[in-house]
């Protein structure tokens, strides 16, 4: 397929501009010479060609509206279309971010209530809705850690992160100036308590933990972990990426977490990936509320107002108030499924993952064989040893069967990892179709390994040279 640039034809245009009714002036007179560029080579196409180009591209795309998308750790659940309806209401879409509070009471009320709902779901005192996505929420959380210790006059230089953690955790810690120290997992997939005790000192700001962890397993010693961290004056951070397993059933706040970020585009069904943008609200317990970003919405009687008056705040971390449109979708979700629905969501997500785990266990190695939460992690080690078929080969073969690959090679502590998260939105028929396909692929790995190593065979673009693409990336179009 040609690029839009290659379809360009000089003089063609997708729109006609009416005759100018103000005096002409030269562009050089109104724009600084330094900012002017020649030959920018923008594509010139007719509207019909433009529409066809992007329609064709979209038909080659894969998303949750096309097929099963078991991308572990990403909670690629279906995004109900009613969200688009509410988010398109002109009362929301026609708002100007500088509109005075009296003009936007509905929007402020929605954000205020959203904070309350999320606080109740997580067992936290308050939330900020500013962070633009999960990693941004993490960064905000660790900035609050930093501010908290500054305020207490303590110098803590290290932050603990388990070996199974999402890569964004050490990045957030390092960006805030902490030295990242790795905590080991034990053979059953929990945090190694002995190692944690050894590492947790008065120099350590705290621990960033995902629960359930990235192996899809509930950290069974969570209360002891919280006690170890708190006893040495540290804070406990919850990476809430896996909240879909707990929602309505258990609350991170009750487990001892001081801070949590959520991903509205995962757990709360706002669109994910290119259908985004994301939203990564951050919740804190009462002792950290003063540090939350500004501006904040306050309620005075029935009236909502912005307030900036928080001397200990970490400041503003996003332009305006975050990705508001995503909040509307997540709010719609919470209100439409209700508390019982949220609980049922978590229960079904866990049940679905366990169903897949049990069906595929005879065919792929299960490194941690115990009840999982919302996702299960297999290893392709056996196939790799026997026939040279790796996790990436199986992932690519799934594309031939119309299924999005699971997350592979993560978590890092499982060799040849394949991390499968079905979410609650899939029926048993879909789960069975997926398992049947995986079983067929396991058979192919034995009998026709070459076929899998060449996959995908049915896509517009066949197997790509990923090594060359990474070593010598060429992402710009040249004439």
């Amino acid at each position: 397929m040609k690029l839009i640039f290659e379809k360009s034809c000089p003089g063609r245009s997708a729109s006609g501009i009416p005759a100018c009714d103000v005096p002409d002036c030269k562009v050089e007179e109104v724009i600084d010479q330094k900012l002017l560029r020649e030959n920018v080579d923008l594509p010139e196409v007719a509207e019909v060609d433009l529409v066809r180009h992007y329609m064709q591209l979209s038909r080659r795309n894969f998303g949750v509206d096309i097929g099963f998308y078991p991308l572990g750790s990403c909670t690629m659940k279906y995004s109900p279309k009613v969200h688009e309806e509410t988010a398109s209401l002109s009362g929301f879409t026609a708002l100007h971010p500088y509109a005075p509070a009296d003009f936007v009471q509905g929007a402020l009320k929605l954000m205020y209530e959203m904070r309350q709902y999320l606080s109740e779901i997580c067992g936290m005192a308050d939330f900020t809705l500013q962070p633009a996505a999960g990693a941004h929420g993490e960064l905000t959380g660790i900035m609050i850690f930093k501010k908290y210790f500054e305020k207490k006059g303590e110098k803590r230089t290290k932050i603990l992160i388990p070996d199974a953690a999402h890569g964004t955790n050490p990045a957030s810690g390092a960006l805030c100036g902490f030295q990242v120290v790795e905590v080991l997992s034990n053979t059953e997939g929990d945090i190694d308590i002995g190692h944690l005790k050894e590492l947790m000192s008065e120099e350590t700001a705290g621990l960033m933990l995902t629960n359930p962890n990235t192996l899809g397993l509930f950290e069974r010693d969570i209360e002891e972990i919280a006690a170890i961290v708190h006893d040495r004056g540290g804070l406990l951070y919850c990476d809430g990426a896996n909240m879909n397993a707990l929602m309505g059933v258990a609350r991170p706040g009750d487990m001892g977490f001081d801070v949590i970020h959520l991903n509205l585009h995962k757990t709360f069904s706002a669109p994910h990936g290119c259908g985004g943008p994301g939203s990564g609200p951050l919740g804190v317990k009462a002792h950290l509320v003063d540090f939350l970003p500004i501006p904040r919405i306050v309620k005075d009687g029935d009236r909502y107002e912005w307030s900036q008056d928080y001397p200990d705040t970490i400041g503003r971390i996003k332009s305006f108030y975050g990705n508001f449109n995503v909040m509307v979708k997540a709010y719609t979700y919470i209100r439409s499924v209700g508390p019982e629905g949220l609980k049922r969501t978590a229960e079904m997500a866990v049940l679905n993952a366990n169903y897949i785990k049990e069906r595929l266990k005879p065919y792929f190695r299960l490194p941690y064989d115990r009840a999982c939460m919302h996702e299960c992690v297999f290893s392709v080690e056996r196939q790799a040893k026997e026939s040279g078929v790796h996790a990436s080969d199986i992932a690519k073969r799934l594309i031939d069967y119309g299924i999005h690959p699971p997350t592979i090679y993560f978590p890092l502590i499982v060799p040849e990892a394949m991390m499968i998260e079905p979410t609650e939105t899939e029926s048993r028929d879909t789960l069975d179709a997926f398992c049947d396909t995986m079983i067929v692929i396991a058979g192919e790995a034995k009998e026709y390994p070459e076929r899998i190593k060449a996959a995908p065979l049915t896509t517009p673009v066949k197997r790509l040279d990923e090594v060359l693409a990474a070593r010598k990336p060429d992402v710009c179009w040249h004439k």
């Binding site: 890569g167 990436s392 090679y409 993560f410 890092l412 060799p415 990923e466 090594v467 990474a470 070593r471």
Partner: protein
């Protein structure tokens, strides 16, 4: 199958090797077994010359198609040379991890630290246990 581990050097349990140059410096790199696990290396973040490092702390970062991994220094000291060729051709590590694919030379702060490392026979056994 990975290449045999040379007996002229010492090994860490994070799969780095240290070759004593007998002039107060060591040459450090990753083992052939490690490069095989990492698969094709696409980027190497080298330390700066003059950087002070402490044993088993981060020396360099390797990026493969699969993941990003830290390389830990087998001994404390100061980085006195880096393998600049890796910046343009990271694949040298895949081709010759024990030779041309060395990562850095370190002027040791304490040569006795090398006693904490494994010899080739112990490392052979270590890999064998890890793969089981």
């Amino acid at each position: 199958m990975s290449k045999p581990n040379p007996t002229d050097r010492k090994y860490t349990n994070e799969h780095e090797w240290a070759l004593d140059n007998h002039d107060g410096t060591i040459t450090a790199g990753i083992t052939d077994y490690a490069q095989e696990l990492l698969t094709d290396i696409v980027f190497v973040e080298l330390p700066e010359i003059g950087k002070k490092v402490r044993q088993f702390e981060r020396l360099a970062v390797l990026e493969s198609v699969k993941s990003v991994s830290d390389v830990y220094t087998p001994a404390s000291g100061e980085v006195v040379a880096i393998n600049q060729a890796l910046a343009d051709q990271p694949e040298i590590i895949n081709k010759d991890a024990f030779g041309e694919g060395w990562i850095a030379k370190i002027k040791m702060a304490d040569a006795a630290e090398l006693n904490k490392l494994m010899d080739a026979a112990a490392y052979d056994l270590f890999i064998k246990e890890e793969t089981q």
